[in-house]
């Protein structure tokens, strides 16, 4: 970790000889933390090992590398007040944590242990000078807090990123449009329908209708846990939009409980063709499309030249 900016406020002690300048104290602290690095590092790693270990499962070289890097990053933060390097390192750490190498609690407790190690070192050193100890703490505390905050935020945002990614994946997975036979599509809807998903579902259905030149769609809502007025309106919109493309939508799989809810809350679904189950829906679609009771899937018969156009 290389400090990006080296701006050390050199405060001269000319002004008053008795008062201890905060800048001087900080410089002194930084210099000492750098000098005592091997001792403090060892102390820290031992404290962590006693506390179940921050790097459980990591190899020893990895542990050494990590602890040194974290130590240096913290001292650099204290030294030059720039947190960019620490933020970058925390982000990397969070990414590894989400992959399962490190655990959030362990990392946080590790950082707290490091803070304790620094604190012990300071109190040992300034045992006889409470004024200087207070000054050093004043310089140290805000930096330590800020570092802890950075670590916590890094983990938090990494977790949020993962959740977003997973939501995206679930959304992609959950709206397949399947072609059963010529001009007939099936759209199984599973899970929760919110406005965003309803829109995506409609878009996907409409583009599939175009692509497969479908004239009928069976939309199966068996997998939808609950339907309220909002969801029902989304369904109506989807059906209307498909109708504008000349496609009939048949909704199937509305369970008894959901039917009861819909009637109780007074949603009017009479514009939508509904059938009890998927099988019935496909039968109805077949009739609409002109497939006979014996569906001509396996044997399309001789192709009669169409006089349509």
């Amino acid at each position: 970790v290389t400090p990006t900016t080296k701006v050390k406020p050199r405060v001269s002690s000319e002004g008053s000889s008795t008062a201890i300048s905060a800048g001087t104290l900080k410089d002194e602290l930084v210099a000492r933390l750098r000098r005592d690095r091997p001792v403090l590092l060892k102390e820290w790693v031992q404290a962590m090992a006693a506390d179940d270990g921050l790097w459980m499962g990591a190899t020893t070289p990895e542990q050494e590398l990590d602890s040194e890097a974290i130590y240096d990053a913290c001292v650099d933060c204290l030294d030059n007040g720039s947190y960019a390097a620490a933020e970058a390192y925390a982000d990397r750490m969070a990414q590894r944590a989400v992959l399962g190498v490190m655990q959030y609690e362990r990392v946080l407790s590790g950082m707290l242990t490091l803070r304790d190690a620094f604190w012990h070192s300071m109190s040992r050193h300034y045992l006889t000078e409470p004024d200087r100890l207070a000054g050093a703490l004043k310089a140290f505390e805000p930096v330590a807090n800020k570092i802890l905050l950075i670590v916590a935020m890094a983990f938090n945002s990494e977790r949020e990123r993962v959740v977003l990614r997973q939501q995206e994946a679930i959304r992609e997975l959950s709206t397949p449009v399947l072609k059963v036979r010529d001009q007939l599509l099936i759209l199984p809807v599973i899970g929760l329908i919110d406005s965003e998903r309803a829109l995506q579902l409609t878009e996907q259905l409409l583009s599939s209708i175009r692509e497969y030149r479908a004239r009928a769609v069976v939309m199966d809502v068996t997998g939808v846990a609950a339907i309220d007025s909002k969801v029902a309106n989304h369904l109506i919109q989807t059906v209307d939009a498909a109708r504008l493309l000349g496609t009939t939508v048949i909704v199937t799989g509305i369970s008894a409980a959901i039917a009861l809810t819909i009637v109780t809350i007074g949603v009017d679904l009479s514009r939508i063709q509904t059938v009890g189950d998927l099988q019935g829906g496909i039968d109805l679609a077949d009739r609409l499309l002109g497939y006979g009771a014996m569906a001509k899937v396996s044997d399309p018969g001789p192709i009669v030249p169409s006089t349509a156009v």
């Binding site: 878009e203 939009a241 504008l244 493309l245 002109g290 399309p300 018969g301 169409s306 349509a308």
Partner: protein
């Protein structure tokens, strides 16, 4: 820009080529009604594939055109509404209830040929 109206056996095909002004739409309505009467057409297909926007005025005009033609026993089909346009229309509440729609010109003609029972075989 006026909309060309093509005669195809017993049907008329109005193929919209570019965005329509309100005046264009009214002209289209008049021309189609006149042509349908003159040629004794059985059906009319309005192809809106080229339209990126369908607003309330165009929707209402087409809807009343369909009703007018129906009074003369002529069936009208609107074809080629783009998926995005359909979505936007539904969100605006323009569902064009009572107007027959089809995916494209071919499907529209197939529908007209199959008669007005709403049953459309593809000729196989």
């Amino acid at each position: 820009m006026p909309v060309p109206i093509l005669a195809q056996a017993p049907y008329l095909i109005a193929s919209v080529q570019s965005a329509l002004t309100d005046a264009d739409l009214v002209d289209l309505q008049d021309n189609l009604l006149r042509e349908a009467q003159r040629r004794r057409s059985q059906g009319v297909v309005v192809d809106v594939t080229a339209l990126d926007v369908m607003d309330s005025f165009s929707t209402r005009t087409l809807q009343s055109l369909a009703a007018m033609l129906q009074l003369r026993g002529v069936e009208m089909v609107i074809v080629g509404i783009q998926p995005g346009v359909a979505l936007a229309m539904v969100q605006l509440g323009l569902t064009m209830l009572g107007v027959r729609t089809a995916l494209d010109l071919e499907e529209g003609l197939v529908y007209l040929q199959a008669g007005s029972q709403g049953r459309a075989d593809r000729g196989q």
